[in-house]
Amino acid sequence: MPKTFLIDTSRCTACRGCQIACKEWHELPANQTRQRGSHQNPPDLNPNNYKLVRFSEHLDNGVIRWNFFPDQCRHCDVPPCKEMGDVYHEGTIIQDEKTGAVLFTDKTTVFTGEEFEQVREACPYDIPRRDPKTGLLSKCTMCNDRVQKGMLPACVKVCPTGAMNFGERADMLKLAESRLATVKKTWPKAMLADPGDVNVIFLLIDDPENYHTHTVAQAAFGPMTKKQFLATLARPFKAMAKV
């Protein structure tokens, strides 16, 4: 059984410890950023940021809601990025059987820009990024190196409030259900984001679109069934047919 994250947004204070710890563990260089009128920085995931806390604010009947979304790869059970990747370069994107981690290997440099766009589009959460200089595809690694050695992923290790949780899938699902039941008392809209399909489960307390455009798979249509989700895999083949 794979490992699973539970990201409990009802406990996230957006301290960004996870965002920074991720960079530190992976020794990713800093981007030159600028203030654009938001605390969210860098503005998006990029080859140097596998983890990004997204900030989103809105008024809910005159009450301020400020939602924090520590975005990262969901390590899908059946990863569309890998399915798509295999179409072009088999074995460059792999899934660790033991942990369930979906990994972009060093071999992903073989993807062309266009091929990469297909991989990115296959991801329902818009996670994959490509370094334009090296061509390397990148995203969250589940800190697979740490996990293999019995350590927690860096982002989970540093979280001060219990927003980031990690463990056996069965345990995380149990925790998710119990937290959901508690949180629902205060936040009736609370839900788990695509829990059946992914190994990074977000507990949301507001509508998914109030966090981010890719909070859940195809946010515009609400949570997908597994069937719909897998159906997205057909898209690239259609795209290829056109070429």
Partner: protein, 808 residues
């Protein structure tokens, strides 16, 4: 903190006010959320909706500088709705004490005010004493001159309408907070107050906290688990720095700095040792001569003898009544009265108000020694924009400092825990810990005085200063040693052995200690207790998350201060489910009690507030410079020109400067109609001198911004992300507009007042990030502490045509 971090989880109600705990003390929210999980209500009262507000049950915006009005309204609510904990108030606070006839209050002024000196004669505020010199009490609380009745009258003026109009908080929101928090006045409920610089950095800073103290005493929330007045101290070991007297007005262990009015050892002790004739009062500070003498012994070693007043006369003494806080220090520097000095652990060219003046003042030095990890706005002041380095005479010695991960030593956290930090890596290159530098300075000074003599060389030559810096050895000196063979109880301690507890410190020269509060932290029996990492606890301790064997806590490992106020007169806990201590089978169990006397009902007990002269919690506090009760005064720079509560617009005793650069906008100045508040950010540390040099942190918060409401933005034609100019009468600053619904326009005195907020962590040595926000803030201070009013000043804002400070 009277309590400690873990204890926050025991609260039933949490009032976060004057603090942005989730952002500036992130770990605190581990415990806040645990309390919330168990049903606690978390309230955030603050001008800005922050990450703290996002995780609170609700947020209440208020105008900066109006906390006393807000809290005064709560005191009135508690009193008028009988929400206070009566037994606690009667038995443990000074509610029943009768105040002397000279005390009075009229139209914003207490009796004893002298307009010429802008000060009060505090002798007018004393209590009435009986023939034995014991304060008169009326436990029925009916006497119109008792504290309770005077307090009721004083705060009766804080009605909802006046408070709402002053603070900008709606009546509905006021009542929501008052009602929720006042519910902790029941014996088995606890409420905690978490505050930080949002309360202290005002011209009424001390009285903000006094107001909270009054509320906590009325509700019986001091001494209990989940209660207390909890100052969230700064990450840079602020608690430890204060304990060891990094401030000018105290020496280690919260004793007064000697001044020229106390020329001898006996003068000092006489003036500083409080006397109580009340057999019920422990009056703990009566022991001060023991602590003071032990400190002198630690400073001067064998040279300090009974005959020479333990070398007291060698100590430097300040001028009585003179203020040596940094505002005054830099004012003297500005007026060319200071030639040189050492600046360590602070970046004043960024972090002190009216930075334009501070930067100019520093140019007047002949020499400056600084020790830093990186070049800062202070170390490189003469290179600052607009200044020709050739024209600045200051010779700067920049010593490379070891990073805190490169050295070992102790840190005292907000909960008063002494925690050991181990060295991770040795210092790079020639970097050294401060301890090594200070020992080096002193060795050279001593050698120079020995060789060349000078004025009073003994003051330096006789110091018992170590030859080499050793953090363990320094901790042992702080704990203190016996200077001759001494018996404590049945145990004989040899000369040179460690003193087991401050109860064993003496005024006869037989003991030394660099800080009596820490005596017991390093013992013959257990070694350096800062290194303890044992989670053992009793079931009773487990119920409240108390870990007596983890590290060590001052005083005497007592984790919750004033804990004898958590039990009734028979020593039984008011809240048995979360008992801190309990009198059981003839002894106290649980936490270390505030004194081991039996419960009060035995007739042999002592009142629980042992650090006050009369043993009671001070609803009425006659020791402060600005009055025994708190009173709302407007910030010195204010957008309004009247005070709803009196004719006295601003504090009658606030401190200010009068140089040509110390300009203040007049009340309700149309040129500066907007309130500015300033703050830290999670991602940078204080003035940012360290963290701006950490690329990943700079990536997350790269440039100076100003948070403002969409309404104000529209009024000013500013869009989110635009470059703007913020101006006060003292200076101008460039920033990027962050237009956000998290800032709300407030209805104050019948009209809309806008407030904006800016961090102060950016400076010119990190190009393109912006420069000191404190060029805007004002040099006015609290009369008790001289802390500047960073949290409220008046400004204007406009769209910038061109940016230079933020050019990337």
């Amino acid at each position: 903190m009277t309590n400690h971090w873990i204890d926050i989880k025991n609260a039933d109600s949490i009032l976060i006010m004057g603090s942005n705990a989730a952002e500036h003390h992130p770990i605190s929210f581990k415990w806040v959320l645990e309390a919330k999980d168990k049903g606690a209500t978390v309230m955030h009262v603050d001008p800005k909706f922050s990450r703290t507000s996002a995780r609170s049950d609700f947020h209440v915006p208020l105008r900066s500088g109006t906390d006393i009005a807000f809290l005064g309204g709560m005191i009135k609510y508690i009193l008028e709705n009988d929400a206070y904990f009566k037994e606690y108030v009667v038995e443990y606070t000074n509610a029943s004490l009768i105040v002397g006839k000279d005390f009075g209050f009229s139209d914003g002024l207490f009796t004893g005010y002298d307009a010429k000196t802008r000060s009060y004669d505090k002798s007018k505020w004393g209590f009435e004493m009986d023939e034995n010199g014991v304060p008169k009490r009326d436990k029925t609380l009916k006497n119109p001159r008792c504290v309770f009745q005077l307090m009721k009258k004083h705060y009766s003026r804080y009605g909802i309408d006046a408070v709402s109009s002053t603070t900008g908080v709606s009546a509905e929101n006021l009542l929501k907070v008052y009602k929720t928090y006042a519910a902790t006045g029941k014996p088995d409920k606890a409420g905690t107050v978490m505050y930080a610089l949002g309360w202290t950095q005002h011209t009424v800073g001390v009285q903000n906290i006094r107001s909270a103290g009054i509320i906590q005493l009325l509700l019986g929330n001091i001494g209990v688990a989940g209660g207390g007045i909890n100052a969230l101290r700064g990450e840079p070991n602020v608690q430890g720095s204060t304990d060891h007297a990094l401030l000018y007005h105290i020496i280690p262990g919260y004793m007064a700095m000697p001044h020229n009015g106390w020329q001898t050892y006996d003068d000092y002790n006489k003036a500083n040792t409080p006397v109580s004739r009340d057999p019920m009062s422990a009056n703990w500070w009566q022991n001060k001569p023991k602590y003071f003498t032990s400190l002198l012994k630690a400073w001067y070693g064998d040279s300090a003898t009974q005959e020479n007043g333990f070398c007291y006369e060698l100590l430097p003494k300040v001028e009585k009544g003179e203020d040596y806080s940094y505002m005054y220090l830099f004012d003297r520097m500005y007026r060319n009265k200071i030639r040189g000095g050492i600046i360590i652990g602070l970046n004043p060219m960024n972090s002190i108000p009216n930075t334009n003046k501070v930067r100019k003042a520093l140019d007047n030095l002949d020499w400056l020694v600084a020790s830093e990890l990186h070049h800062s706005e202070t170390t490189d002041n003469w290179h600052r924009p607009g200044v020709d380095p050739k024209k600045v005479k200051t010779e700067v010695f920049l010593l490379p400092s070891a990073h805190r991960l490169e050295k070992e030593g102790s840190v005292t956290n907000s909960g008063r825990w002494l925690l050991w930090h181990y060295q991770v890596v040795p210092p790079a290159f020639e970097a050294k810990p401060f301890g090594d530098m200070f020992v080096g300075f002193m060795q050279r000074l001593k050698a120079l005085y020995a060789k060349e003599g000078g004025t009073l060389p003994e003051a330096v030559l006789k110091l018992d200063y170590p030859d080499k810096y050793d953090s363990d050895e320094l901790c042992a000196r702080i704990n203190g040693r016996f200077t001759r063979d001494t018996k404590v109880g049945d145990k004989l301690y040899k000369k040179g052995q460690l003193v087991p507890s401050f109860a064993a410190l003496q005024a006869d020269g037989s003991t030394s200690s660099l800080n009596w509060l820490y005596t017991g932290s390093f013992t013959e029996e257990d070694g350096n207790k800062a290194k303890r990492r044992d989670t053992a606890q009793t079931d009773m301790q487990k119920a409240i998350g108390l870990y007596p064997n983890w590290a060590w806590c001052w005083p005497v490992n007592r984790r919750v201060l004033y804990n004898r106020a958590s039990v009734d007169l028979n020593g039984k806990p008011y809240n048995p489910a979360k008992a801190v201590i309990e009198w059981k089978d003839g002894k106290w169990v649980g936490d270390v009690p505030d004194g081991g006397w039996p419960p009060l009902a035995t007739g042999k007990g002592k009142l629980p507030f042992i650090m006050t002269v009369h043993g009671t919690g001070q609803l009425y506090g006659p020791g402060r410079m600005d009055g025994p009760f708190s009173e709302h005064y407007e910030p010195v720079e204010t957008p309004v020109n009247s005070n709803m509560f009196s004719k006295q617009l601003s504090s009658p005793v606030y401190k200010f400067m009068s140089s040509d650069m110390d300009k203040l906008a007049k009340p309700a100045d149309p040129n500066y109609p907007i309130v500015l508040t300033t703050y830290n950010v999670t991602e940078h540390w204080c003035g940012g001198g360290e963290t701006r040099n950490i690329p990943n942190l700079l990536e997350a918060e790269p440039q100076l911004y100003v948070e403002m409401s969409p309404e104000l933005a529209q009024e000013k034609g500013i869009k989110n992300g635009d470059g703007v100019i913020v101006e006060s009468i003292r200076g101008r600053v460039e920033a990027i507009a962050m237009v956000t619904i998290r800032m709300r326009p407030l209805k104050v005195h019948g009209r809309i007042i806008h407030e904006i907020g800016m961090p102060f962590c950016f400076g010119w040595t990190t190009p393109g990030t912006g420069d000191s926000t404190n060029r805007l803030t004002s040099w006015v201070g609290d009369p008790n502490t001289t802390i500047p009013e960073f949290k409220a000043c008046c400004v204007n804002i406009r769209k910038a045509d061109k940016l230079t400070e933020l050019a990337t």
